[in-house]
Symmetry: C2
Subunit: 300 residues, 2 copies
């Protein structure tokens, strides 16, 4: 199983276009001990030939361009080694990239019923994916029900990770949808190996811990260092948990006993652990965690 991190940042990326927080400001000045990151995006393959995208970030065009295994073959004139796209949620930073895959390419998209409804029933833009008959084959994900990704033995188990729909979904619309289908986490399995991917999770359920005990690698929500990170910076706003994210400080403790390779992903531009000269970076690394970066490979 080959997992490639195509992007490691939270929504907006790092640096963020209109942000002058200490991280973004110093990065632009060339005075930051750390690298820029595009929005969180994985590619995963069991055979290094057929690839599945985990989420579809707004940076997907440049992310595909930067990773040659995702480039098309010589013929036919339109083709792609991307065999499918698996969505965790309908958030802009998780799903907008679907609209970048619009050039007459047949696609299989794996998503919950609620995520599919939000995207294609409430957004006419998604009609761009209907230029061919049956251009997109939607496969409905049900939390707890495993499914095969392609024919090469790659298995995926989706679990419900949070019940809050994106802020752009009106409350009346959200009330029509199934809460447990709002945000997913995934376990991927192949050849006796197991990997967890939870880029957004406001809390950690005991049953996940059981599943994570047997994982070789865990990619977990690294959005915010502390629960009040944005409030401290801007003087107002929401807590990390209110935005659907478990603070890194508490995750370090909660997942400390797992023997897997532990990797923070979906890291917000304001998170101090991005700075490799910071105390927060040293704390994370000395606790045995890694911080995902664009171009990181995990091969099992």
């Amino acid at each position: 199983m080959h997992i490639r991190v195509l992007g490691a940042a939270a929504g907006g990326g790092f640096p963020q276009w209109n942000c002058s927080c200490p991280n973004c400001w110093r990065l632009r000045l060339g005075q930051f001990a750390g690298q820029p990151r595009s929005q969180a995006q994985l590619a995963i393959s069991a055979d290094d030939v057929h690839w599945f995208l985990i989420n579809a970030s707004p940076d997907l065009r440049s992310q595909i361009d930067a990773f040659p295994p995702l480039h098309p073959l010589r013929l036919p004139l339109r083709n792609s080694p991307i065999a499918g796209i698996v969505l965790t949620s309908a958030e802009v930073d998780a799903a907008l990239g679907l609209l970048l895959l619009r050039e007459f390419q047949p696609l299989t998209v794996y998503a919950t019923g609620a995520v599919r409804q939000i995207l294609i029933e409430d957004n006419s833009l998604f009609e761009v994916l209907k230029r061919l008959p049956d251009q997109v084959h939607w496969v409905r994900l049900i939390p707890g029900v495993a499914f095969a990704l392609g024919d090469h033995g790659l298995k995926c188990i989706p679990v419900s990770a949070a019940s809050a729909f994106p802020g752009f979904v009106a409350p009346a619309r959200a009330a029509q949808l199934v809460d447990s289908e709002a945000v997913l986490g995934f376990f991927f399995e192949h050849g006796g190996h197991r990997v967890a991917f939870f880029p957004g999770a406001p809390c950690i359920y005991p049953e996940w811990l059981d599943q994570m005990q047997t994982c070789d690698a865990i990619f977990f929500d690294g959005t915010f260092w502390s629960d009040d990170e944005l409030i401290r910076l801007h003087g107002d706003g929401k807590t990390a948990r209110q935005m659907g994210h478990h603070p890194v400080t508490e995750t370090l403790t909660a997942l400390s006993d797992l023997k897997a390779r532990k990797i923070f992903i979906h890291i917000n531009n304001t998170n101090p652990m991005l700075d490799e000269e910071s105390d927060e970076y040293r704390t994370v690394r000395s606790a045995g965690w890694e911080i995902a970066f664009d171009g990181m490979d995990v091969v099992l």
Copy 2:
């Protein structure tokens, strides 16, 4: 007046993610005499301090990052020199980038009523631009009616360039909208200088020619070399004109008498003139035209 080309390609960019046409294939091999291009995007300023984006391409995040004058100042923590965004149409490659400008930043967006309706009435995703009260101020453009871009003397005259709405707009919806508001071209004026921007135009009206006679620079639709470019390549599909684009071969003749600096923009990945060793490139250059590229500056 400073015009910066942040992107010069048509929708999908160059190379395009699933395309193995001769241009894309050779570019990826490093055997192409020409450069990659992101999706068409201009920035324009009268004072090199306040900037207006012309369209909002899906590549906008990296395009802003690549042009330091669009970076925020040190304080306040969220700010931007981008004073407004002017849209030619509701096409994905012209408007999707609005969703990338979603981080609590007050914005002024200039668009026709029809374009605004398609985007915000038919797409719940655009609710992400309502995280603050009055976050986006929509200014309604009416073809033929000039308006001021900011307070620094920059003037814009929108003209109706085509009457076809994007393919993702259902015919029943399109029937409710004003045809002349589907696609705009612009004339920008400042300090006695005038620039035209027509990235998508299926034909050239005589009244444009009158206006273009007094232009210093003209950015014109360079999408397709010939009317049957895609049909020749793929064996089927639509003509350039059916897709809303005047073929370069015919534009060379139609605009030959204009004394302005003439620049093709919105260039499709399949267009042979992208290859600087091609006959088509030599034909265009010897006719006195330029081919826009990412990072091109026009200063008047």
